[in-house]
Symmetry: C2
Subunit: 251 residues, 2 copies
Amino acid sequence: MQAPARLELIALPGLPMVRPGDDLAALLAQALAGAGLELRAGDVLVLAQKIVSKAEGRLVRLAEVTPSADAMALAEETGKDPALVELILSESRRVVRRRPGVLIVEHRLGFIMANAGIDQSNVGEGMALLLPADPDTSAERLRAALGAPTGVGVVINDSFGRPWRRGTAGVAIGAAGLPALVDRRGEADLFGRPLQVTMIALADEIAATASLLMGPAAEGRPAVLVRGLSWSAPASPAATLIRPEEEDLFR
Amino acid sequence: MQAPARLELIALPGLPMVRPGDDLAALLAQALAGAGLELRAGDVLVLAQKIVSKAEGRLVRLAEVTPSADAMALAEETGKDPALVELILSESRRVVRRRPGVLIVEHRLGFIMANAGIDQSNVGEGMALLLPADPDTSAERLRAALGAPTGVGVVINDSFGRPWRRGTAGVAIGAAGLPALVDRRGEADLFGRPLQVTMIALADEIAATASLLMGPAAEGRPAVLVRGLSWSAPASPAATLIRPEEEDLFR
């Protein structure tokens, strides 16, 4: 990866509120064309999880969810809506932390996150929005549907809380067309010494960058074009950013 | 915080290799002027930890460090240089994880990080570079020395490994002139529902953004101007990003 000297970030104007069943690629193509933007090598289009999930129909009406006994017990323990807890459990491999007001799980996709990433902001009363079923595949499908040339990436981002640090930051949950993780092992520093930091979470840094423009609930600006990047490594999905438990130095 | 529709990122050209004792603010002012850039409201100047530490003379010659018995034992256990381990311990409150090749500590400033953030890339053979003594104060001092007007922030960034996710990402270790953490509690979503995500790690997202231009060892591009942000919350230092242990939902 050659770090760029300049980058431009553009929140796509003119994107309508996305609804279940919408052709998101078509809406994005319209917004790009309307802004006079044509995708080119070094562009990464970052999409808020929210609009990808909505287009994919991942909205659930909580009143239609029947909580299991496990969900009822966990809802009691955490003070959360039993239907919401049922959805969280259905999206998770295991509960990582539970306490009043808090439910951290390992999402079925491997993310360690609060509430399995289920979102109730900007989705309407009584509704809950699940993460896309397979965000890496969603990113790849959108990349293809946009007719993006080689050297154009798509990232789907979300805001995650982090251990040890306060506040949320943008994180990549899906990626296509770019190396989500850049491996610089074997490269040398300016003095010829092997680089100490050798794996860079490129897609996460891009996801955090786009968050600056989206705002916390991605209100009104859920698609951001990052223009001016370059990379030489082959594309790798956001799933490569998930650290296998046995490799985790911090646990 | 009003999220911007556009952002521009500019790696400052013409910054010389920083050496101990250099007047970093003067070098930055020269580089800004040379590039025809004048700091204005909404700008955040992001500086790699490396150049701040170097200017502050935080370079240590490992041959001049005498390892304690504790450091010798831990060096044996982790396979690291005893002098380096002595430096790591002297910069830390406690050891969080130790195993062959790995030493994660709680830095005296509260960061949970590998090797207490001590850097051996791009600093010369046999040398080690410590974090700035007080990065928030460094950021404030640089902000003042640059004569930055109100609405201009300075962030000092570094690359941290993260639990659960592979690769490093840029993180703010010092900040001045901007709210490192933005509190949106009490705000509503587009449907009038209270926002779910309410604390945004603004300085961390800015730090990650700048990392995209700096590259992994901040080679050659250790200062990045982020142009086009805006915020209304009062300034708060990067120390506010450190989550007190008792508040940590993930532990």
